[in-house]
Symmetry: C2
Subunit: 222 residues, 2 copies
DNA sequence: TTCCTTCTGGACCTTGCGGTCCACTTTACC
DNA sequence: GGTAAAGTGGACCGCAAGGTCCAGAAGGAA
């Protein structure tokens, strides 16, 4: 078996080459988080990763655009994996709250340096490829949430009359909106409020189903 | 009385000057909506507004940064005024739905060319002045929504136990999140879903108050 | 060892764009 | 109508930053 690794048609990478390529991606990723995509220059990347211009263009012939796209894909993968294991097992309210806490804590820590936010807002609008990548990420994310909602509906904790996909969409919007506000003001209040509010709706919808009805305790938002 | 208009200390504008200044702002605003702030060059502005470099720097000595800040302020004003008269009279569910329709329709029309989104995401992160402007806009917006929630609480349509400010915050997040998704995918589904979901929660919370209790009809989300 | 491919370093080119300068015109007030 | 301030046009500058090129080093298969 060949020790060289095939990247795509016609492109071979040695172990050393693959390492360099990865180093460039991760260095760029860090740079983008700190300064934004537009403000990140190839010279910054070159300095940070101890490489040279020729290497960047060797591994990313499309130049800066191709590099940023690779970084976006790299980050997109992390967005979902960072929410595990909670995201894949939203089968109890405890799991949902753990997920909520994970999301809030992650973005609170990242603050302005949210990788996805940066890439979505700076790349998504111009590059069709980046836009497709974003759309695909959101779809996968939403599908996980939809599955979680459906699971809760099955055990009677969420009103079966609700549209699971639409509900998942509004959860996505809650997160994205909270992050948007966080990015522009530095405060995570909206993120928490939006998630809590939406989760409260889901909880109370379950309580309202006939067989489990026990009204009176109107979901305390604190 | 002087025909010249005082702008700030030491700066006088004739009617002609004021008109030119305004033309520059509006032209830049349009350019930014179409291409983004970073991609908008002073030459674009110059061509579009039939002016010259010297005029831009005459009216905005701080260069591009000052110009964009002026545009941001101009747009921020429009964001709220575009939601009138609904935003200031959220005293019935009809008013709330009219407001919701106005927001959805506006952003659906604007699509990728959302002025606030562009400015928040491209300027907010770097310029402290722009960030302050954004924060202030969100605060004013949230205060209007908070007042609306409080009004509905007073007439028993929303659970008085809810934190009005926190609820308003989650509505803000719903809008911002929907817009964020719209910006990166071109679809307004999330915006609608998030607003509808949140409004449903508020409605059902009112229904749950003791004196108005008539359970069974679990808020149909369609 | 030999030969081919991949990898690396860095000088160099090109261009786009923010910003400057200065001469000239128009407006406003006396 | 004179004069000073405000408004206007456009040539020009400097530099940052993306991108090119080529010579040479390192690595792998025979």
């Amino acid at each position: 078996m060949d020790r060289k690794v095939q990247k795509e048609v016609g492109a071979m990478l040695t172990a050393k080459g693959a390492a360099t390529r990865q180093r460039i991606i991760e260095g760029t990723s860090a740079e983008v988080r700190e300064r934004g995509a537009a403000a990140t220059t190839l010279d910054d990347v070159r300095a940070r990763t101890s490489t040279s211009k020729s290497q960047i263009f060797h591994y990313f012939p499309g130049g800066k655009e191709e590099l940023l796209l690779a970084v976006a894909a790299y980050e997109a993968e992390r967005v979902l994996s960072d929410q595990e294991p909670f995201l894949s097992a939203l089968t109890s309210w405890e799991a949902w709250h753990n997920w909520r806490d994970r999301v809030v804590e992650r973005y609170r820590t990242l603050g302005v340096h949210c990788p996805l936010g940066v890439l979505i807002t700076e790349l998504g609008r111009k590059t069709p490829a980046a836009q497709a990548l974003t759309a695909q990420l959101l779809e996968r994310w939403q599908e996980r949430l939809r599955a979680g909602v459906a699971a809760m509906q099955r055990i009677g904790e969420i009103d079966p009359g609700l549209d699971a996909d639409r509900t998942a969409a509004s959860l996505i919007a809650a997160v994205q909106g909270g992050v948007a506000v966080l990015l522009s003001t530095g405060r995570a209040d909206h993120l928490e409020a939006a998630l809590d509010t939406t989760l409260d709706l889901l909880k109370s919808s379950g309580r309202r189903t006939p067989e489990l009805l026990h009204v009176g305790a109107s979901g305390d938002p604190t």
